[in-house]
Symmetry: D4
Subunit: 253 residues, 8 copies
């Protein structure tokens, strides 16, 4: 709330063009709903372009259920990540149209009546064991309105598999690269494409992978430019970022 | 090179529409120039939209000078990062129009005759000591064709300074956030804006900042979605990513 | 035991005002009770202002039960932290008025006949998953005689929720800030309030949160002054520190 | 700014009791001064009880000089930490009454006309090599209005030296404990005193002290309650926290 | 695909010696089989001399079963590592001649009709707890065509046991050394033999072994030359490397 | 085997004073028994003064049973550490006089007909949760022939408990100090006693104790001289070392 | 020295076929020369196939000079690694034919009268800044008798440069891959070639490369089989290993 | 001060056998001398058997000089470790008989008129670069009254050099093993000798030695029993410990 805007508001208020309520509504901090253990951030969709997402880890099924119900009262879409079948059952009591995806461990609801999904996002994944994280990225971008192309099992140990998929990957506006172990796929893709690359290290591996640290450090040190990184196993964060990039093009580009 | 395109090439070759040279040119791997200690990647601009960037660290002034000269033979722009005054002097011998920026430690040449710079990039910086990294990000995005707005000294210890700059920040299409110490600025900005945030941890701090590790981990664990991270002190990487995002909107969005 | 006091004691002893027993009692090390596997520190309440607290982790239910009984023989309050329902059952056999709090995993007994609880402590918590640690902090300060105000779910991803609670937080004499992931809440609160902030990193998060290391490092590197830090998930330590600060004001300030 | 206060403001504005300027002044974010590379936070003293402190590391002498001059225009006290003789000389040009303390590497100015310094802070230091950090803590608390008692060289290798100083330490309202190597002094003092302990690990040591990591971890894991920790070598942070605790007792206790 | 070869191909095509299909077949990237969740790399045997190996960790039994069946359609050997009895059962449905080795947790199929196994590989193992990793190394080299001599329990705590086995070890063309704890065996063997040593750190140990980190670092810092290292517990990698070294001698040496 | 001794042997052999067997016996490497998965080091007792100890972690009950039986064929004492009740049952089949100690998780057999146990070892332990590791140290020193005094629960949070035990501790010839969390007990004891201190960090603690790393680093950085350290939770190592020190005094001092 | 051989020796000695000297010579430990601060290992060439190599780091020029002179008394080749111009000058006093290579920081002497160097080793290097380490690898393999082909600047950011060099790389019997930053080159080469790959991580990079840790972890976690790793910046170790592999083929393959 | 002793003192005081001063003198904490920046621990020799040692790192030459002078007023021996030539010059002003040893970086004074040095300590050192740390260990044990045998350059890369020195090493009552890089020498010696081994990791090495961490971890995880460890480069600590072990044998064994 900058001062100039406030002078205008006050003038409009004095002149009767605005009521006190109008001024308060604009000046006040954005509203949220306090449900005791949590404050539901209904303003998130306005601020960020998408409703608050429920991070399932460390929450009881009951908490997830209550958050889901509260969010859907003022939103037409819902995303719960890193969740469980138990939480899904708790959500279903109030939200019977909720969908559980076992691979990505997400709960989604989409009641929006939008048009066609926005293309441009490719999610490329190094190995079979990385699929759950890649799926989380894809589901996230999809619920945010994107159409996602998934390219699986293109790790650098057999680089011809990656090259065979280059037509798909090269056509992307943003590429999410999901890889564990040494995470080299991010650098190789980053060297080949014009689009920004969002790299997701995964905890796939053992020994000195140190639960994804090896892939994380490798991706942060990519010798190819145009690569940025999210947390280990954070498919959600990458899918969200990718959707922001392509959706922003239509709304503001 | 996919098979279908190759059948077409062969047909054109048999029919005489293409010479053997034409086919070879298209099928062959992209050319580069071998100057002994390095292979200058002239194809980079086609593949990535910007010529190869010279990473100055660990290269002798002579090597930087030779790379700069070789690159500018086929490109109208040059960027050298993390470089020194000595390297600049070596570059100047062959490239008298090179520019050295002391704050960002970059050498740039811009002989392009483009139109207006593309707006949309904001580089926000937590403290005075983070300025060199922020400057590297800004210079990078600028040489790639962007107009960059710089917002300095908006660390979260005095959050009203950040809020006062929100009109600028909220108008960005992509925000680069540069912060050392605890790196909290990335999360706070990430919670407030609709645009993707590229977070750059810096090595500013001491003790348990562990040369930027504290900020790096904080940024990777941002509770606000839409934040991705580059290497510690990697202003270049963030500026490059930001430019890719906004430039891509015009060319392909 | 300083020399001057000893001269006085000796004088009183020679004059008969004190017996040898009296001198020995004062000179000797403070007493404790040896119950075999442990030495119950009955002197703790005198030295520290609160009886010895039982750290439940790694102790058998029987050990907890015996320690609880021994401590309550000479104290009117008991606190067991990081404990289990099994330990609670063992305590109840000898201490039927013990109370188990599931959220904070504490056992408490309060037989004190004090006056009103001392206000001034606020416990602010970033997310729903951080609630158990915040509850441990609050229960600790309460058993030590404080009245605690709890502010939940004010993480920086939706900073307006924090700002809405600022009247409560700004009124505190000490603020305990509990946050996982990137732990940015401590810096933001630290920049806004006049009271000292005790920051508690939690192990909430995954991947590069490294079980709370990211939040710990962030809090230690807070750019806002007036923030000190306790161990990861150490709600007890923060609540204890907060109570010491406000209680000290009455007794000695 | 909560809604209810705003309705009152608007009513007062309509009735003429307040001008538009008055309303704007209260509603607007707190003011600061933009000096280009930095935003001087003049509001800090109101918000935190002490003016903004200049962190000298990574700033040029000129930047320190300009910040010092700008801050002293609206404040009667100045503190610059982790600074150099060169910066001091730059400060002196505009601020001839500035004082440089070589041991603590601080620059201070105190033009306040306050009463007696507030007693209650003890700074205890394990070894001779820890003195610079202890001095930084003491200077910080002093400039904030405290009288500080310093207890040097009481490391646990000769615990009788500590016990001899117990009368001083036990009389404190807050104890700052500064120790490198294994940092055991914090636990031992924490077990003996009733006052809160602010522990400062130092980088004194070698090999597996890992530049203060050993002391930091030890202090965070103190088995004595009532100990909280600041960053390695952060004497300033500990002194600031200590001053907040004792000063708050008078103003609000 | 280099240019000269392509001119030849084109000439042969124009002259009719080759069909378009022939050219495409040679120019195209090597083939693989897409089975949805994975791309079976049938070209691996040509490129690397051994078919793709299935890394069992993180794959469902069904996925392992399908990969095994797909691979054996075009190969006469199969190796699955770090697998389970459940996966073995899934494999057996389509591949009844599969063999499960409990010690090494491998599934193997060998339908090759080769001659004698190639001698020259010795796998030496420090302690009984390291046996599973040593067995993985041996099984891997065996399925690749080697005859492996296994030397168990020759850790340096009783160096005479190692010396007694020196005739066997000294006769090797390559020695795989498997050791946990401090991993000193690699250095000692490296100092005694003429053959290259492949060192495998294991996660055997506790406390500051940090799950194999101690052995890994020790082996990387071996003061004896001729030692290289694979990942912690990576018996497969060492066996593969050893087989490559000795097999290469016959085919190309 | 040095050359001079060998000339003597050869001369004695030629002259008939020694048989070929005699020479071989002296020249040969010490014997051991190969039981397939292990090489039983019967020579250990001669070389080290105590038979080979069985490290139970990672061995199957059957392996432990076979090793125990093999060792007792040529020795009158047995020690198995970090073992389980299942392993104990396997040992009992062949060794009915084996003893299982639940606290220390050891199996022992003592058929020696020695004299009085050698006094001089004190095992001091910081907290109740450290007891299993302290017990392992004590059992180890006892089976090696020492009489061990155990001092429990003397952590530095209540230093008067330690001081009360000083008569016992100060009388030791070697002190084993067992402590988790911040491990400060080692430094405090090291500063008070004349005897060497063997420090054992334990994994007791949580959060930034990082499974014993905090205590390990603290003990390695002890400001008191005369402290050396063994692995985290390695009660066995400390007890063994302590016994070597006091036993050596009698046999060779 | 096994017992059976010794019986034979003794028999031969008694019968006069061998003198006492002969027996001693065979039985004795291999000779070395004690020059005070060091023991020159003249037996190394017999045991390992190459004389002892002088590791220059941490040695004074005088020590290097004396070691060089001592070694060359019984050997025709010398290698000093990680050395300085000062050490070279000290070596030259006694060894005028020594050669200093500035890029690799090595001193070499080759007085051998061997035949042609053995081909088969390729050293591939990711970037210009990695050249010194690559040079150390090449010089090492060369002094051991190999002919080395060097392939520079083939980092994965421009993978076509690597593919263009594949004819050279694919013809190798062993490939040394030298790369800093994310070290992806090792995995990519490992996936493409039939020869074993020795990977050398370098400390090239900054920030979260952590002085080569990122590349080290990446290489240890290579998803391509047939890759083993040496210490960060250990070009010597890789060159030595590579030479052992190809030289062994001729002498024993 | 235990109670029984105090009753005796009081009785003696009442009866006149002791004055009040006598009682105070015995009851009071042991004396020390406060010289401002430090408290000289004159009681250390009584408590620990050797006067306080001056740790030179981080102390100014003046501080070292004053401490040295103060200590020698009541002691006949002095040891300053990790010091410099400048500090030595400052010491010499007041202590002309001080001796500086460049290799070990120690200052010593020995005015004691003792008998023969006590034999039994062997200091074994892996490589030439480890000599300074080994020298610090030896000098420390010597000033404490031991005769030390030094065994240099017996690293495990040429294990015959170690075996040749076994007669010396096996005769020790305590062995100090000094090694950098992978630190394997500690385990190998530990497996061969009957005496306790004090292992000193050194920072000799590069890359993944991480300034001695690799050797430290290796030594802590020694598979041979009877090995304990001191800090990286802490020759002093090892020498002190070794002297305590052998000296204790005479005085109390």
């Amino acid at each position: 709330m900058d001062a100039q805007r406030l002078y205008v508001l006050l003038e409009d208020f004095r002149s009767g063009r605005l009521t006190a309520d109008d001024v308060v509504a604009e000046v006040s901090v954005p509203s949220f709903e306090d449900i005791g253990f949590a404050k539901v951030d209904h303003h998130r969709a306005i601020r960020k372009g998408f409703p608050e997402v429920v991070f399932g880890l460390g929450k009881t099924p009951e908490q997830v259920g209550r958050l889901a119900a509260a969010l859907l009262e003022r939103s037409d879409r819902l995303l719960v990540t890193k969740t469980t079948l138990e939480a899904y059952r708790a959500v279903c009591e109030a939200v019977p149209d909720a969908v559980f995806d076992e691979m990505s461990r997400t709960i989604t609801v989409d009641r929006s009546v939008g048009g066609e999904p926005r293309p441009g996002v490719v999610v490329a994944c190094a190995g079979t064991s990385d699929l759950p994280v890649a799926a989380e990225a894809a589901v996230t971008a999809e619920i945010m309105g994107c159409r996602v192309e998934r390219v699986n099992d293109v790790g650098v140990a057999g680089i011809h598999r990656l090259i065979a998929e280059m037509p798909t990957i090269a056509g992307a506006e943003v590429v999410v690269v999901v890889a564990g172990m040494e995470g080299a796929l991010a650098s190789v893709v980053g060297g080949l494409v014009r689009a920004p690359v969002i790299a997701v290290p995964t905890s796939v591996g053992y020994g000195s992978s140190f639960d994804g640290l090896a892939a994380l450090l490798a991706m942060l040190n990519s010798c190819a430019p145009g690569v940025s990184v999210v947390n280990i196993d954070n498919g959600f964060g990458a899918g969200y970022m990718a959707a922001m990039i392509v959706m922003g093009r239509d709304s503001r580009g």
